[in-house]
């Protein structure tokens, strides 16, 4: 099909043929003006359509049509392909003789701006991104009122043609990193993309790693704060998750709450999250290691209770732990899929009934229940759900290693994780910044949260040309 420079009649036929068997498309004719409109009723806003197209066409005479088409809302298209793409993007195509125009009346139904369920905060703003790209851009622009906030529109997906906006603040974000990100987005080869978290997997440098390499957030304040720190943000059409880059491992442990509360509280919370990370990753594995190989490490006061509790369990600690960890994961997954009210019931059933019954039935020891529950609770302290899920998965590997090789296996696993993390990069920057490569200044906002008066420099990872904040 030749989409280039076709005559008006041919172009109309090509468009009509392209939308064959699309019963949701609307053809509307104005015979007295020799005009046909083609659009998707559900993609256009009725008021815009009426104001910009229908009403002017009803009021105009055939002789004045050329004058009407000179108005700014009418954009002339050059070929059928462009017209088809415009219709798919919610524009109204106006066919008149050899000319084709499109008018933007995009306004599909979308949900209202509501609170994010996965990233709730105690204090701070509650508005979160929606699936509507324009709404999301508006939410960012409302927070960053600067003409230096630049947006670059790209399209991804051979079939879905999903729009992606790359946003950055000129003069603060590193141009090289912006160009690198754009290059990667342009190189994506796929049929379709439906979500921000799915999108970032196409631009990862290490797609086989278990760790998320781009931080994603539904919170507008988070994205705005990262933009002014010199990071680059990306918005994906149809997704409430925006992403930012470059990202480091430690960023996944910070939450907006850290900044909205007093700095000492923010610091304490952040440290708590790192402790939670250590507990999640090692606690159950350490229990398995100690009860399988290193009984000598258990204090005497605890030893009797533990031995009594373990004596009723017919399995080795490894199976016992894997069984309980698996149960917890089942409960979590079931709770996530069910409506919140039923989800709570599952929590109670799982937490009390299964836990209690498992101990009484002699399937598991009560100390293991404490270990498994503590590490599960600790995993939910990590603000990023994606990171939390990755860490929970790694935990299984450590439990298996600890169950087979005790503390040696546990340390081997930890060393392997560190080695893996050392090799990860995000947009060419180290994933372990600011620990390795080390930047002492960045530590003020990594493991702790210093008072704002001391946070005067932007993070080193963004390689900003404008290192000092407030400039």
């Amino acid at each position: 099909m030749n989409f280039f420079r076709s005559s008006g009649k041919n172009r109309f036929n090509e468009v009509q043929k392209a939308f064959e068997k699309c019963e949701d498309i609307v053809y509307r004719t104005f015979p007295q003006l020799d005009i046909t409109l083609i659009y998707f009723d559900h993609l256009v806003e009725k008021l815009d359509l009426d104001r910009d197209v229908i009403r002017p066409l009803n009021q105009v005479t055939k002789n004045d049509l050329q004058g009407l088409f000179k108005q700014s809302q009418f954009e002339r298209t050059q070929n059928a392909a462009e017209t088809i793409e415009s219709i798919l993007n919610g524009k109204v195509a106006v066919f008149h003789g050899d000319d084709t125009y499109v008018v933007n009346a995009y306004g599909p139904a979308s949900r209202a701006v509501v609170e994010s369920e996965t990233e709730s905060v105690i204090t701070g703003p509650h508005d979160a991104f929606t699936e509507n790209l324009n709404t999301n851009l508006a939410l960012i622009r409302r927070r960053v009122k600067s003409s230096k906030l630049k947006t670059i529109k790209l399209s991804v997906g051979e079939i879905t043609k999903t729009s992606v906006y790359i946003c950055y603040i000129e003069g603060i974000a590193n141009d090289g990193l912006v160009q690198e990100l754009i290059k990667r987005v342009k190189n994506i080869e796929t049929d379709g993309i439906f979500e921000g978290n799915m999108f970032v997997q196409f631009i990862d440098e290490h797609p086989h790693s278990v760790f998320p390499q781009f931080i994603t957030s539904e919170r507008t304040d988070v994205i705005a704060s990262k933009l002014i720190a010199g990071k680059i943000a990306g918005l994906v059409e149809g997704s409430p998750s925006a992403f930012t880059a470059p990202t480091n491992f430690f960023e996944f442990f910070s939450s907006p709450d850290d900044y909205y509360q007093r700095w000492m509280l923010g610091t304490a919370l952040r440290l708590l999250r790192f402790i939670a990370f250590i507990i999640t990753i090692t606690f159950t594995a350490f229990y398995v290691s100690v009860t399988t190989f290193h009984y000598e490490m258990i204090p005497q006061a605890l030893l009797l209770n533990l031995a009594e509790s373990r004596s009723k369990v017919p399995f080795p600690p490894l199976y016992e732990a894997l069984l309980m960890e698996l149960t917890i994961e089942l409960l979590r997954e079931a709770g996530a899929r069910l409506p919140s009210k039923i989800g709570q019931t599952i929590g109670i059933v799982g937490g009390i009934v299964i836990g209690q019954a498992a101990v009484q039935a002699g399937l598991t020891s009560n100390i293991l229940i404490i270990a498994v529950a503590s590490s599960a609770i600790a995993s939910f302290v990590i603000p990023s759900y994606i990171m939390s899920a990755s860490i929970r998965l790694i935990r299984f590997g450590l439990i298996v290693l600890a169950g087979n090789f005790g503390n040696w296996g546990l340390m081997f696993g930890i060393a392997l994780i560190v080695i893996h993390l050392c090799g990860l990069t995000n947009l060419g920057t180290s994933y372990l910044t600011p620990v390795a490569p080390m930047n002492a200044n960045d530590w003020k906002d990594t493991f702790v949260r210093f008072p704002f008066s001391l946070l005067v420099k932007r993070p080193s990872q963004v390689k900003t040309p404008n290192k000092r904040r407030m400039k």
Binding site: H294, E296, I298, G423
Partner: protein
Amino acid sequence: MREKINPYHIFMLMYMVQSGVGLFSLPRITAEYFGTNGWLAVLVVSFIVCLNIALFYIVYRMGKGRSVFDIMESSVSKFVLFPLYAFVIFVISLTGCLLGKQYILMFQMISFQTTPPYILKLFFEILLYFLLIKGIYNIVKASTVFFYLTSWMPFLMLYHLGEFEWQRLTPFLFQGETSMIQGIIQIMGSLLGYEVSLYLIPYVERNSPFFRAVVLGSLYTSLVYLVVCIVSFGFFGFTMLLHLNFPLFDLFAFIELPFVERFENLLFIFFIFKVLITTIISFWIVQLYLGRIFTKAHPKLLIFMIVLATYIVSNFADTLTKLSRWLHYLFAMHISLNFLIPIVLIILLNIQKRQEVT
């Protein structure tokens, strides 16, 4: 071009490379070879190490950032150099792998008496391989993370201050049965690893305080060694130290926590990070030498061969006594090389300078 290695990281790398499992027996070695107040020998050896580093610094200045290999190969034929390379490969790779094996045999003795050491060593080899293939920049990053994971350990010595008594140090200096040359080799052996600075020259930024970081890193290691030795002398006393195989282990055993017993087992396992970096840096140097001999070989294949060959050889050292004997000879050869290589390089650089002038 790859990012250059920052002096901060060099400092941490030096500490991680130098400090290792040798620290566990060091207080006994100082007592055995130097007699009363043998801990002072650490200061002497630390000074010798600094002199050796000074030789590296002269090479760095005179060579203007050129690598060791570039300097050597631009003046000496490869037929002469390759046997020397082979000898260096033999000494460094064996030292590295046997230090790893020493740690594993000690670990086996403490926790896994019935598990064959070759199984435990296999895990160690896997870590070596995966880190080595990532290149020096990532090795340095890993050493930084491992440094933080173990940086708290020297502070454990504070726990023993309550039991420390100055009178146990005695007023006598280097009295008892002594063998100072042997002792210096042993102590220097536990401080080996600083030679990596010579091979890191092309990877650091010119005019950065690179050698200051090397010296500070080395001094920090010496300080930790010194503290451990002083505490051991003041805690156990000279006579008892002679009868303890691994005094640091006994010091750790003294630490009691309410929620965990045999804390020393847990502490000992943290040393895996230090030993890993010590061994990996040795293998990295070996990889550089092998890369000069087998110029067309794939780096991953070379690394695999290094890890495999040293794994096989290390299995022959099946007892700690045999291993200590082997290590003693290797330390002597390694120390000689550490002095010989920079001296040869300085001579070559002088010749090259004269040739340039003429």
